[in-house]
Amino acid sequence: MDLTTIVLILDSSVRLATPLLLACLAGLYSERSGIFDIGLEGKMLAGAFFAAAAAYWTGSAWLGLLAAIAASIVLALVHGFASITQRGNQIVSGVAINFLAAGMTALLGQAWFSQGGRTPQLGGDARFGAITLPGAEALRDVPVVGEIYYELISGHNLIVYVAFLMVPLTWWVLFRTRFGLRLRAVGQNPAAVDTAGVSVPFLRYRAVIICGVLTGVAGAYLAIAQSAGFIVNMSAGKGYIALAALIFAKWRPWPAMGACFLFGFLDAVSIRLQGANVPVIGEVPVQFMQALPYILTVILLAGFIGRAVPPKAGGIPYVKER
């Protein structure tokens, strides 16, 4: 494979990894605070739908993004209410949210647009377009560096850059701020946070809301940046892959980026390998490539590649009075 091919595959990986990364970081905030979230998928889907609907009505991608975030936050608050205030089962709540999003988006899509659950196609300002970074055109013809800069680094839409900037930002928030310290603590031992004079519910609600914001952005990316409209079940399991990536990353921001990029890369490769014969290996069934993230996660969970220990208080409602 020549450099161009590699750069182009990596470029595609970046595009495919972006929604995973946003959802994965979203999950990171929630799970670090001790609230398991298998509802990433649903929140992303709801975000995608409302992004497309709002962008279609208003013609503005920005309003679409806001709508996506709002919709996602609403679902995040439902999850928060069930798992923080009502101390319900977080897995059950997450499952419910996934179904709620799947059903509601299709239902509303059909009721509002009667296009089989789809929203109308978007164009122009209703989408986030590609951004050419300064100097990209000039550097374009410089060998290697220019190619990498022009193809791989420049030319993505805004949300892609936001997603990747979220990684250092998340790291910084988690390990350098008061909020981060408390967040890490509350996922490990909520009683310690409580007795230190910090409200556990408030802290967890904030984490869950951040999770909503990020899944909303991820959804908006799907519908109004990567594609030009919403289609039924658009998230297609990406929320679960993000969850897998989160486990893979052991709930840490930088490795999360690595894991999401890896899974995006696998996706990019599997798309390009479709029908093509890989030299030496022969034809790899696409289905195998598609299943690979899940297989890798199971292997990791089995403890064969390191050990993924979730935040200690994760999934357990904080109950001080039985």
Partner: protein, 379 residues
């Protein structure tokens, strides 16, 4: 699954509270219908008529009910051991492979009643096998079974696509599906039975696998509440430490429970594959594995509750199809929404109305607790 906040009598615990939760779920669903601009009462009327108003509707309702009994039982059995089997979808999918293998091998040579037990065994076996790895990883390596079973759903889906596209579909077929089974691989339908009651089942696919489902209910009841291993399963689910103290191997219990759970999920395939379509298709499970979660939560993990909840969901699925037909603005996704609301209110928010109900109840009668105290204080 639930830590009781206050002690309420059993009939409130297993009767009133779940009922209130489900009713609230439906009320919220009604609001959704209203929001879309349709009349919820009209919708309910169409739904109930569609599900029970005529022979064919009933036939479809029973067809879906059969699916949900199996998957609901699968989730319920796992609940008793404190396990959350979210992998019913994948296990049922693999169960379909078992059914297809049995039917494809036998349908040309033996009558259906010979194929049925073999297919049943194969479905259970394949479903159980698909649950085995997550079970083993949970038991031996502590990998969270919720995550592994989710992963296994996806892996199952890829595996089955690969098998159906590349290996099982006849050459030249446009659809990734096996050939159609012949008479020896086809389950008799319930049309005859309907005729006894003077009804016409029309083309509804309800078939005798519903009896397998009911037998599975009886099996689960005895298995959980009457056998020693069932006792051990419940002990493990309620207090794993006490189970270890009692000499119960949690590894064994986790694996056995998941095998039974996966087997039950696998059996679900009998109904659509051998009963309805007579061929193995892509995605034939169609979310029934997930409906099982709602069914088990609503049915409080008890076979009787599961049958009732499965019937309710069967009605929803069939009635919902009619509803989508007659009210074009309400698509079938309404069912998914209702399902989500049931899971939310009967599962994650199950305690929301408890304090209120508890208070209401305390006003009405002497609580069990007081009875206990009174008896204790008796000299």
């Amino acid at each position: 699954m639930s830590a009781p906040f206050e002690k309420l009598p059993t009939w409130v615990e297993v009767g009133v509270i779940p009922l209130v939760n489900v009713v609230v779920a439906f009320l919220v669903a009604g609001l959704v219908v209203l929001f879309i601009g349709e009349n919820p009462l009209e919708a309910v009327k169409i739904l109930i008529w569609g599900a029970l108003g005529f022979g064919e509707g009933v036939g479809f309702t029973l067809f879906y009910t059969t699916n949900f009994i199996f998957t609901g039982l699968a989730v319920a059995v796992a609940f008793h051991a404190g396990l959350f089997n979210i992998g019913g979808e994948g296990q049922a999918y693999l169960g379909g492979l078992g059914v297809a293998v049995a039917a494809l091998a036998l349908d040309r040579y033996v009558p259906w009643w010979v194929t049925l037990p073999v297919a049943t065994a194969a479905a259970a076996l394949f479903g159980a096998a698909w649950a085995l790895i997550p079970a083993y990883l949970q038991a031996k390596r502590g990998s969270h079974i919720v995550i592994t079973t989710i992963m296994f759903n996806f892996i199952a889906s890829s595996l089955m696509v690969w098998l159906l596209v590349d290996h099982l579909s006849p050459v030249g077929s446009m659809q990734p599906e096996t050939r159609t089974f012949e008479a020896g691989g086809t389950l008799p339908e319930l049309g005859g039975l309907f005729h006894l009651f003077g009804a016409d089942m029309g083309a509804a696919p309800a078939n005798i696998s519903i009896f397998v489902a009911l037998a599975a209910c009886v099996f689960v009841y005895y298995f959980i509440w009457r056998t020693k291993i069932g006792y051990e399963i419940r002990a493990t689910g309620l207090n794993p430490t006490a189970a270890v103290y009692a000499g119960i191997s949690t590894v064994k219990i986790t694996i056995v429970t998941m095998l039974v759970s996966g087997g039950l999920a696998g059996l679900m395939a009998l109904n659509p594959v051998m009963g309805d379509q007579q061929r193995l298709q892509i995605d034939f499970v169609q979310g029934a594995g997930f409906v099982g979660i709602a069914v088990a939560l609503m049915g409080r993990a008890h076979p009787v509750g599961v049958v009732l909840a499965a019937f309710l969901f069967g009605m929803l699925y069939q009635g919902g199809a009619e509803l989508a037909f007659d009210m074009p603005t309400i698509s079938r996704d309404m069912i998914v929404v209702i399902q989500a609301l049931v899971i939310l209110f009967a599962g994650a928010l199950e305690h929301m109305f408890r304090p209120g109900i508890g208070r209401a109840f305390a006003l009405m009668s002497t609580s069990q607790r007081e009875r206990v105290v009174a008896e204790e204080e008796r000299p």
